[in-house]
Symmetry: C2
Subunit: 458 residues, 2 copies
């Protein structure tokens, strides 16, 4: 069941929050040993919250669609009194004394927090093969990575443990696992969702957003978490909208950009075919396909990588003397960041501004862009290189290649499933919009994606 | 005559723009050899502009108070077809093909541009002893520096060459020379005045503003140059106000902060006495003096210095191989900036944000702050250390100590003359306001400062 279906069933008294929660906990018990999606399960607290939700709903106190729904959040969102590791050995015993803004909002909406999802160490990577807490496994093929860094959130949603898990995205960390696990992953506009209480990685690149099994669920969650928060100085005062699209929205006349450069190079042929089919589907619903050239995304990727290297090292430098508490991939990145000169960082930020202005020019011509989310489907655990069209590619670079630049631009983007490769692994379509156009990209996504995404047989 | 007096005289037909301009050019001819305030004199173009202004005014086409008034701009503002050196050997022959935004605005207001003022090399220092174009001299004592980097602008206004010259302020470069030369120097809020076409030094610290002989003149110029400019991405969309205060404004009930820490340490005793007298004057006009502790200004000074070192080096790095084209002080700063790690720059920006938030708390308690602008009066040319209370201080550190942090905060601040030391050298009072409170600080300044500041006998 999707989140909104469960919400409707709750209101029809066909099911209770206690039952939904018990089912979620059962499914976690059954599937967590083989997926490792959940870092921490909050069974007792969840049962209490569910009881409370049932009590409130029975009394007619309706807090909205999240009320009584079991959910999870990535283990970098602070939870008062509940361990919050950030996937790091440094914080293995860290118990915050406050909730992250997103947790506050979800709980205020009556959601039932059943657990914290596992993640790539410090959210700094795309495999979610965590050296301290074990590799997270893709529900579609447990020998494969779920992607990262929000790998546990994507795996938990794909495995049907919860209908929604919150993730964070600094260089693709929501969209990559959404693509690899065949779920919906929404990275809102920079400033749209408060980051207060979420462990930072790259201050100017971090975004918070949901992973769900339907597009409308992503909108419903965004309705609950979007809005101004004075505790996050990058938070926008721009008014929120209703982000839940109609069940059968019209996209007639919408202009969808088809990038002629960069985004369709070096793709797995199955990915290429699936994404091109999405353009045809959109056209058949009356959308207009506008071929265009995008600004220099390769340069933006480099800019985003330099900025992240420096910002992450600035944050974590105080801990870097304890070298044995980091996994080798994260330590290598942190060491690299320490060696960057300030002038490179500043020049990267200047180039970022220039490319942002250049990119802004696109929005007079199109309402959104379609691109593949990842050029490949989920690689095997431990695999560091993959072969596309006879050419070997680094898995990390390939996974981030089509998503990372969007973080530097701060644009809203959603990854939605758009088919499967020859092995049956999910393929992701990325829909990118202009700043604060979440409602538009979700409308387009809803037109293309089935009411509930296909799920693996588990 | 002040700018507004000249404007009134023009409208009473007591004088023409041609006469004002001829007088300005004459004064430049007489006093520039001994002050070196003007880098480039634009005599012919100015005479043409003046003729045009007289023609328009005679026809009743009145462009406002700047119409027909001779002015100058610092030689880092691009002027179409007129050499713009930035005080640097690198740009000794640089002729821009466009006007800076403030030049556009001033000319659209009918101002007559008589010349470009000399400055510290690349605006990167406080002496204005330029190694390529000669030292600029303080009209009050030509063996002394005018301060910098807008030393030529301050000297030109103090010497009566023009009633207004534009300056720029990255770490005190408007306020320091205003203090040393006994004129009014206004650094508006970050984002209030467009920086388009002004040679940058520190992207996140640069501000543009006027130096004048009266407070009301500074307001009149701000009226002409404030406002949104899409060509400067830091430009604010906040609506502009009328910045010209009444001739005898009331400051009854206004709350003036008296910093109990930092700002009154290590001052020349004459400076201390003059600034304390300003508090008494304000109190006698009905203002309320509120003693308070300010956040860690020393930390903010360090933050501002680190940020400037890195930003200036990022900008100028491409030129740094031509080492013999830089003066020794600027070269040393640029070399220093190249060695800063990105993590230091990022941590400085984070500390800056934290201190900005802390500082913002003051504005519920006071409407403005009074501090000395500089702890010393103008030092001698070539002097690198000065003695205050028996202690030796580095001249550059002393000159910037009370002004630099305000750039990191982006707050509006005006330096106004508030007396003279035992040698007859001017003393500056700095009035700092909350963001976009230019009208308030100018009102307070107007209440305290004579209609026209004292000028040296030349």
């Amino acid at each position: 069941m999707t989140l909104l279906e469960a919400a409707a069933a709750l209101r029809r008294r066909e099911i209770s929050s206690a039952e939904l929660t018990a089912a979620a906990l059962q499914r976690i018990e059954r599937l967590n040993p083989s997926t490792n999606a959940m870092q921490t399960v909050m069974a007792d607290a969840a049962r209490e919250q569910a009881k409370q939700a049932d009590y409130e709903l029975a009394r007619g106190e309706d807090r909205g669609p999240l009320h009584g729904i079991p959910i999870a959040v990535k283990d970098l969102f602070s939870t008062k009194g509940v361990r919050t590791t950030g996937g790091s050995n440094l914080f293995a015993d860290h118990v915050p004394d406050h909730d992250a803004a997103v947790v506050e909002s979800l709980c205020a909406g009556g959601a039932v927090l059943v657990g914290k999802t596992g993640m790539h160490e410090l959210a700094y990577g795309i495999t979610s093969s965590n050296p301290h807490f074990g590799a997270i496994r893709n529900p579609w093929d447990r020998d494969r990575i779920p992607g990262g860094s929000s790998g546990g959130s994507a795996a938990a949603v794909a495995a049907g443990m919860v209908s929604m898990a919150m993730g964070s995205d600094t260089g693709g960390s929501i969209r990559i696992p959404a693509s690899f696990c065949g779920v919906v992953g929404l990275k809102p506009t920079y400033g749209r969702v408060s980051r207060y209480g979420a462990m930072p990685l790259g201050f100017s690149l971090d975004h918070m957003g949901p992973l769900t099994r339907s597009v409308r669920d992503a909108g419903a969650v965004l309705n609950g978490i979007a809005g101004y928060d004075p505790r996050d100085e990058t938070s926008s005062r721009r008014p929120v909208e209703n982000y839940v699209p109609d069940i059968e929205p019209s996209i007639r006349g919408l202009r969808i950009g088809l990038p002629e450069n960069f985004y369709f190079e070096r793709l797995d042929p199955d990915v290429d075919a699936a994404v091109r089919a999405a353009f045809h589907a959109a056209e058949s619903y009356g959308a207009e396909i506008v071929p265009l050239r995008v600004p220099d995304i390769a340069a933006l990727n480099t800019v985003a990588r330099v900025i992240l290297l420096a910002e992450a090292s600035a944050l974590l430098e105080p801990h870097l003397e304890q070298r044995d508490r980091f996994g080798p991939d994260v330590l290598a990145l942190l060491d690299q960041g320490r060696l960057l000169p300030a002038t490179d960082y500043i020049n990267a930020q200047r180039l970022r501004s220039a490319l942002q202005r250049e990119f802004a020019g696109l929005w007079s011509r199109v309402d959104c862009l379609f691109t593949p989310t990842t050029p490949i489907t989920a690689p095997r655990i431990g695999e560091t290189a993959t072969t596309i069209g006879g050419q070997s590619q680094d898995v990390r670079l390939a996974a981030t290649r089509l998503v990372r630049a969007i973080n530097a631009l701060g644009l809203p983007a959603v990854s939605v499933p758009c088919g499967a490769d020859r092995r049956g692994l999910p393929i992701g379509l990325q829909i990118v919009g202009q700043p604060f156009a979440e409602a538009i990209i979700l409308r387009v996504a809803q037109a293309l994606v089935p009411a509930e995404v296909p799920v693996p047989h588990l």
